[in-house]
Amino acid sequence: MSLLSVRDLTVTYDTQRGPVRAVDGLDLDVPAGSITGLVGESGCGKSTLGRALMGVLPDRGKIAAGEVIFEGQDLQTFSASARRALRWRRMAFIPQTAMNALDPVQRLSAQMAEILIERGGLSGREATARSSELFRLVGLDPARLAAYPHHFSGGMRQRASIALALALNPSLVIADEPVTALDVIVQRQVLDVLRELQARLQLSMILVTHDMAVVAYACDRVAVMYAGQIVEAGLAAEVLERPLHPYTMGLTHAFPDVHDSQMSLVPIEGSPPDLHTPPPGCRFAARCPFADARCNNEPPPSRPFGPDHLVACWHAEDATTLRGRAADPQTWAAIA
């Protein structure tokens, strides 16, 4: 059974041009003990989804519909205080820019102790011991607990954020672009820390990213998000090797490969639709080289395609031939 199961989730924001559905009727399953990559370009609602799962949306945003079933309970039925009690104990969060996410005027030891004492019910002495343990766990010298956030390099801050997230032994960790701001070597080191801890502590993790290579490196499963919806989901090996959705196909050809000098990159021309007035059919249709009349008028339902692989595309049956065409930049250039 899934640790987390999201059904028909809709998150709306109030803007000056009216409400906008940043997440729109989204379904997602996160099995226990796995890393699920949530991938998509900026503005597709990845971060909003992460925050909605934590139950901490900005004032202008709210969950308008849907269910979030976590460890068998529907979180939407919880009272605010019950929801708060759950936070960080059962599900924790790793932010993208750890610099802004840490209180600049407090030492790491104080920020660590705050969680351990207030939320974990530890004594001061226990908190100190546990803080050191957590720092060692993520590969930081416990002596650095006395430092302020600005003393840390980007990679160290991200490690500290991971230590904070693991403080209360959560079962689910949501990591929002945890390595985007980091250099390759540090990025790899942080990903290795995440992978190792996930395996050792049997965590479940949602790893939000825009980089297919990060998904390929670190994730067991992947969900591809576009314009507020999941367009394709399944085992990472399956989705990356045999993508069914043209958007996923495009994304897998959008990055250069360090070991392949012959490949030509594919640009996905255009930009995501304005979610104030989403298109009636498939949301990707306007940028899709394979779209036809049905795509423009009828939204494709999400349907299973092979074992443990979901896709929302009218043309999934033709995926094998489309895959070949999607690797050619000329196919995509026609859209521009």
Binding site: I185, R188, H210, A216, L251, P256, V258, L265
Partner: protein
């Protein structure tokens, strides 16, 4: 082929709180017309400072920069303007690279005006450069302001502005890192086409070897202000000589499920630089460190035609 841009012994020392920080030390490089050179390294390795010195946006503490046979290390006034017209920069963050108050037309006219290009040519130049970056028809874009464009479109305008004065050299500092994955390829392809059809010399700065591989034939690897390895990109990636290059190659993730997930052949982080600057700066993180590395700084030596490495390891190959 003679080099268009040539730098010898570039040095940059910053003074902060009474301490000297050697951001760039003894960097020499050259780029020929039609050639693309990549500089790769982690942030803080001095790659951006090097590029800024080459463009005379930062004054070198020592060293010499030759452009098209002329020494431009200390060029100023008229000579500097003339250099700027021929050596242009593509910025990292397109959302910040255009004056928010200027229309696209005005942003493109600014270099034409400053480089004293006759007004009669302006319209033609603007239209041809907009075609080159594939923003057509030009008229539908020119009267917009930056906030009305998406990141990919903005970066195309930035590219257009760099190309409009007809430069011979283009420097691009992480030209796609701020862009959405879906539009990166478009920008890289435009850059590659422009270089090929105009015969430009190009210099790319990035921390991502995969990107460098896609656009550059030659690559320089920098670590803490020094060049540690240089050579043809494909060879450098398939047979890295310096332990740092090896780590850099191993760290790049690839979009395939089957890949190497072994631990990196490197320890610690950039901040673990040895306090004593004599000797090899990489020694604290190096998996193959030797006693000699602490006392003697390795100099760049040729290990194969066109390949150089700064490492004491005998079999650095």
């Amino acid at each position: 082929m003679t080099a268009l841009l040539q730098a010898e012994g570039l040095q940059k020392t910053f003074h902060s709180r009474g301490r000297e920080v050697h951001a760039v030390q003894n960097v020499s490089l050259s780029v020929s017309p039609g050639e693309a050179l990549g500089i790769v390294g982690e942030s803080g390795c001095g790659k951006t400072t090097t590029a800024r010195m080459l463009l005379r946006l930062e004054e070198p503490s020592a060293g010499r920069i030759m452009f098209d046979g002329a020494d431009i290390t200390n060029a100023h006034g008229r000579h500097l303007i003339a250099y700027r017209a021929r050596a242009q920069l593509v910025f990292q963050n397109p959302f910040d690279a255009l004056n928010p108050r200027f229309t696209i037309r005005r942003s493109l006219t600014e270099p034409l005006r400053n480089f004293a290009i006759p007004v009669s040519e302006h319209q033609d130049r603007i239209e041809s450069v907009m075609r080159r970056v594939r923003l057509v028809p030009a008229e539908s874009w020119l009267d917009r302001r930056p906030h009305e464009l998406s990141g990919g479109q903005l970066q195309r305008v930035v590219l257009a502005r760099a190309l409009i004065s007809g430069p011979s050299l283009i420097v691009a500092d992480e030209p796609v890192s701020m862009l959405d994955v879906s539009v990166r390829a478009g920008i890289l392809n435009v850059l590659r086409d422009a270089r090929d059809s105009l015969g430009l010399a190009a210099l790319y700065i990035s921390h991502d070897l995969a990107l460098i591989r896609y656009v550059c034939e030659q690559t320089i690897v920098m670590y803490l202000g020094r060049i540690v390895e240089q050579g043809p990109t494909a060879e450098l990636i398939s047979r890295p000589a310096h332990p740092y290059t090896r780590a850099l190659v191993a760290a790049v993730p690839v979009a395939r499920v089957e890949q190497n997930r072994e631990g990196l052949p490197i320890r610690g982080s950039l901040s673990d630089a040895p306090p004593d600057p004599s000797g090899c700066l990489f020694r604290n993180r190096c998996p193959s460190v030797m006693p000699r590395c602490a006392t003697e700084a390795p100099t760049l030596r040729t290990i194969a035609p066109g390949r150089m490495v700064a490492c004491h390891l005998e079999g650095a190959m």
